[in-house]
Symmetry: C2
Subunit: 140 residues, 2 copies
């Protein structure tokens, strides 16, 4: 798993169309995920890879998101499935399982979590404040 984390003053996505790449992708239902946004939150772009350890990867990412939330004094997080951090992307079903496990772990820690739609072309707005540690790359 590869993840790119940002502290965002503003973040928003809007559904445009279902993705048909990478080959074999199985988009989930768009219902309820047409438009999503948050302010002053930690946003994690996540690429689940073939061979990821579900338990270790989901726990590692959840811990990193919690740590970053604590550092900026916020309880709001976004988990956005993102196919663009690796060329070794896992199958859709497995990716969704891991992403949902991350969400479960964050909710157990009393964070408010938005999970963005899996399998679509979306518009993206990001407004990232300039400070040390505002962007981070992690591998799990």
């Amino acid at each position: 798993m590869k993840a790119l984390l940002f502290h965002c003053k503003k973040w928003a996505v809007k559904f445009d169309s279902l993705a048909n790449r990478p080959a074999g992708i199985k988009p989930e239902s768009v219902n309820g995920k047409e438009e999503q946004k948050c302010e002053d939150c930690i946003v994690a772009f996540v690429t689940v890879e073939k061979g990821d350890d579900k338990e270790a990867a989901s726990r590692g990412l959840a811990d990193e998101i919690k740590k970053m939330c604590k550092e900026v004094g916020r309880k709001d997080a976004v988990v956005i499935p993102f196919a663009h951090l690796s060329n070794n992307i896992a199958e859709s079903k497995f990716s969704l399982e891991i992403l949902e496990e991350v969400v479960t772990l964050l909710k157990k820690s009393k964070l408010n979590v938005i999970r963005a739609h899996f399998g679509s072309n979306k518009s993206l707005l990001m407004d990232v404040p300039g400070h040390v540690g505002n962007a981070r790359f992690r591998e799990f």
Copy 2:
């Protein structure tokens, strides 16, 4: 080299502070790069890695940026040094050489190019329209 490319309706960065990570980083002068922005452009976040082939990587990335510019009918590009797509980051001097070579190749192809500051914490604004191919990951 790893690169993340976006078509942006709006893109802007503002210098905040010089980076002291990763260890050994040598930031360049900020002069003239305090604040940079563009509209309707192709933005490439670029992580140069140890062992990259300067000629092949710079040409590969320049060709990809030119292709994406052509697809969206624009002649404006941004090359932004970005330490967050890999854990195998090249030395600063080598990274800058490759980034500058990409800029040179793009200018030869009559593109307008902004090259963002190397070695700083910056604010970042991105407004990406929702369409197929608005975000791409490439390895060179």
